[in-house]
Each structure stands twice: as structure tokens, then as C-alpha cells.
Symmetry: C2
Subunit: 290 residues, 2 copies
């Protein structure tokens, strides 16, 4: 690859891996571009297969010193955090010496919302001499493009629900809540907070099974977007085949995400699942909607 020498000068990329299929997908994309990777899968979160293909070191949350030492020894300067991570209980973390020296700051980071936590974590990592990048900086293919991803198209009615969903997520942004909402016929059915998107969709399916949803099956949209002031290097909203399955079970019409600001895991499987389930998946221009 002609770009390889320039990329090699950057050194290998350190990938701190949370849950889901995205971390390994990003690793593959980065390696395909000619840049080596070193994986740091997190115990309790990352895919157990994370060590199969690339150099790797398993970490417990809180092992900041171990991470810094190993990443530096591998010649890494750039770090990407990728994959889902349940907000851990403070007392369940394992602090190594470096982390212990920073404990007051880490403890302070734990008070307040996720954005607050993440911006503090990123500052700690950068103070160790690393540069923190977003997964989409090293693998832009993972971002959802504008337009329909599968065969099914959204309708005018869906567009009204999508616009309301984006408006809500924008208004709720300052409160550092979830990144997703379900809107059906201009009625907000469910708002995501600590439970995550999959569990919110399961709730909608349950409400429908109990006859508590007034709109017909096939009406309603899962809308996802990053919070207005979110640090894009962390925790962009993501969709994958599992999201599609949840939307089908919830009896909704489709999924709308912020184009260029949402990460897609396993795009081929996602599109196949959406087509099979008869739902649309659309990347919407948030410039128009927010």
C-alpha cells in the first residue's frame, strides 16, 4: 500500500476494546489500511475472542499504569476507545499504582453523568502522553452514510417521527441521558437512559404485547443521535444487527440515525436483517433536523 510508510511513522494503534463486535471490526479496518494494532481488551466487557488475531493485553478497568507501560513499550502514541462499556461501579474497579496516584481525580470523575466521566478519562489518558482519537478517525468506513441502507424506504409519517426524535434528543442533550428514543405517530413511547438501546426496545415490545401501545404495528421509529456536546472520540451511538432485531420485535417501522455521527457494526448483516424484517434503516442529515 503506497500510504504505508507514512502510516508506519505513526506507530501501531492502541485499541482499548469494550463489548460488541465493533472493536474487532475496527481493528480489521485499521490493519487493512496498513497500520498495525495492539488490542487492550477489557475484562468483563470485550469479546473473549479479542486475542485471536492481533497482539493484545487484557486489562481490568482502572489499570491505567499497566496500559501506559504496555502501550508505550509497543510504540503506540495514538489510542482509540471502542465498544460498549457499562458504567462500572467505582468499587469494582482494580486500581494499579498509577491510577491510585490519580485516585482523587478518578473519584471526582465518577460524580456526574457519563459525558463528565468520559471527558475526565480522556484527560487522564492524554496526561500519560497519548493522543486520543475517535474510532471514525482511524476507520471512517464505520460511520453510517446519508440515505437508506437497505431496500425499505421511510415514509412521510416516519419523517415526522424522526424529526420529533431528533428534537427530543437535542433538548435532552444537556442532561447527559441516553442517545436513543422511540417515537410512534408523534408520541414518545420510550426514552433510553442507563438501560441501553436493546433493553429499551425490549420494553417497547413488552408494552405492545400487553396492549399498551395505541399505534398499530409497523408504525414508529427508533431514533439515535449523539448528544449535542458529546466528545465524538467516545461513545458515538451505534447500530448493528442486534438493533435491527430489537426494532423488528418491537413492531416498529424502522431506524433513523444521525448520518456521519453514528457507528455501524457489521453493515452487511445489518442490511440483510433489515431487509428480511421489512424495516428501514436511514442515515438522516441532522443539519436539517436539529
Amino acid at each position: 500500500m503506497s500510504a504505508a510508510p507514512a502510516l508506519r511513522a505513526e506507530g501501531p494503534l492502541a485499541l482499548v476494546c469494550g463489548g460488541g463486535s465493533l472493536p474487532l471490526a475496527v481493528a480489521d479496518l485499521v490493519v487493512a489500511r496498513g497500520r498495525p494494532v495492539v488490542l487492550f481488551p477489557l475484562h468483563g466487557a470485550a469479546d473473549p475472542q479479542s486475542g485471536a488475531r492481533y497482539p493484545h493485553h487484557w486489562l481490568y478497568l482502572g489499570q491505567l499504569g499497566k496500559f501506559s507501560r504496555l502501550a508505550r513499550a509497543a510504540g503506540c502514541r495514538d489510542v482509540v476507545f471502542i465498544g460498549s462499556l457499562v458504567r462500572p461501579a467505582f468499587w469494582k474497579m482494580r486500581f494499579d499504582l498509577t491510577a491510585l496516584m490519580l485516585l482523587p481525580r478518578i473519584a471526582a470523575a465518577f460524580h456526574g453523568g457519563d459525558d463528565h466521566l468520559l471527558s475526565n478519562v480522556s484527560r487522564l489518558v492524554e496526561q500519560q502522553g497519548f493522543r486520543l482519537l475517535g474510532a471514525h478517525d482511524v476507520a471512517p468506513e464505520i460511520l453510517v452514510p446519508q440515505g437508506a441502507l437497505g431496500r425499505v424506504q421511510s415514509t412521510e409519517r416516519d419523517h415526522a417521527d424522526i424529526a420529533l426524535g431528533f428534537d427530543y434528543l437535542c433538548a435532552a442533550g444537556p442532561f447527559d441521558i441516553g442517545q436513543a428514543v422511540v417515537v410512534a405517530d408523534k408520541h414518545v413511547l420510550a426514552v433510553e437512559a442507563a438501560e441501553g438501546t436493546d433493553q429499551m426496545l425490549a420494553r417497547v415490545a413488552q408494552l405492545r404485547a400487553n396492549g399498551r401501545i395505541g399505534t398499530a404495528k409497523g408504525v414508529g421509529v427508533l431514533v439515535k443521535a449523539p448528544k449535542p456536546n458529546q466528545d465524538r472520540r467516545f461513545d458515538l451511538p451505534s447500530v448493528g444487527p442486534q438493533t435491527v432485531e430489537g426494532v423488528v420485535r418491537a413492531g416498529l417501522a424502522g431506524i433513523a440515525v444521525a448520518a456521519g455521527e453514528t457507528v455501524i457494526a457489521e453493515p452487511d448483516r445489518l442490511v440483510a436483517a433489515a431487509d428480511a424484517g421489512g424495516i428501514f434503516v436511514v442515515g438522516a442529515p441532522t443539519g436539517l433536523k436539529r
Copy 2:
């Protein structure tokens, strides 16, 4: 009672009864003030015992003509809607002739959020010649006063969570979502939408059982308040012993509601449950917080 003659001139009060213990409690309070009541319990929602003590006529949702005829025959001019009501599926309603004549307007009312639905329903009832009142207009005792209701007091940390909860509910108001949120250590854990408060609390209990809540047991507040532009004659937020039990199971510190804008069902049982569970219940002045 000396006020009885003046009250009698108003005629009996028509109480359209949804679910929960509040409708019969309100009936008792109104009768204790010397005004007779006629109950209109709703099939599928109201307590099956609704007919035990007072004149009553069971209704299906959509029987606007039957309601108007029977309420008029009983000499009622004032109507109160009270009790919980799950948003019904449009096609599950039973429309009588009067409702059928108004069907386009009723169908239109079903598009959009609950506030929209309720304001349309109230217009339909008023067009039948009735005056729609709030339950607190006829039984002001049901409103939560300012201050702590039980023995347990809220702390400074709780006050920060309460303020954040009221701020969120205010910001989410235009979206006609739920009236409740759970905030723990300035982190929004759960937002209520179509599922209702009890189910949201069960979700928090489940998240805690799964180790997915970062804050310790005994931290966090259920915050309830009416939406900023809500028609106070309908659907003021309510708390009761069941809410207290849900908060105890969710491992939270207490409950904060908008003083003077929240309805309390079975206050004695609520206070006893809160004291036994070691949680606070406080009516907070929204003037300071919203």
C-alpha cells in the same frame, strides 16, 4: 354541614374513574364535604369495587353519548376525570352514536401525544354542556403539601439530584413524555415514557440487581412533576404506597414531587411505607427548581 345548601345547588359531581385507589378516595372526600357523587367507572381500568358505595354507571371508553345522557339525568353539571388510564388502542374503543358522530375529531385527537389527546377529550366533554374540573378543585386535600411527609429527611446530595430531575422534566415538557425521572448522584438513570412510573422503578431495581448502577444503594431520587403546560384538570402526577414500595425496591433514597401539583393516594399508608422503608418523601417548591 353549613355549606351544604350552596353545594347542593351545584348538583352531584360526576366522577369518571380510571384505575388505582384515588377515584374512591376523591369520592369519599367530596361526599364528606356534603356533595353527592355519581361514579362512572371505566371498564378495564377502574377498581371492580367502584360500585360498592355510591350511585354508579360502568362505561366503556368511547361511550360519550351514554355518559352525557346518564350524567345529565342525574343532575350533574361538573365532571372530574380521576385515576390512571393507559392510552387505549383506538380500535379497542366502543363508540356509541354520539361518539361516532364526533369520530373524525376523536380520531384526530389520537394523533400526537397524551396532552393533545386529553385537551381534545376535554373539549368534547365541554361541548356536551359539562364543566370539567380537576380532582384537586373538588378535593384539595389530595395535593402533596410542601415539606417532608414522613420521618426521613432529604440531604444536600438529594437536593442536587432533585434539582436536576426538575430541570430535566421541564426541558422534556414540550415533548409530552412522562412525568418522572430517576436521578442518582447527578446521573439520570431512567426516564419515564409510555411504561409508567412503577415499571420504570422496576427497571432501576433490575439494573441495580445486574450491577449496572454505579451509585451505592440509598443514593438517588424519584422526581415527579407535571409537564410545564399540562392541563392540571387531568393527569396530575400521583404518588401512593405502591410508588414508595417501588422506590424501596429500586434502592433509592427517596421521592420528590412538585408540591401543590402532585396528587397523593392513601397518604397514611404512603407515610407508613416510607418510614418503614427508610426513604424520604418530600413536596418540593417548583418555583425554586423550575
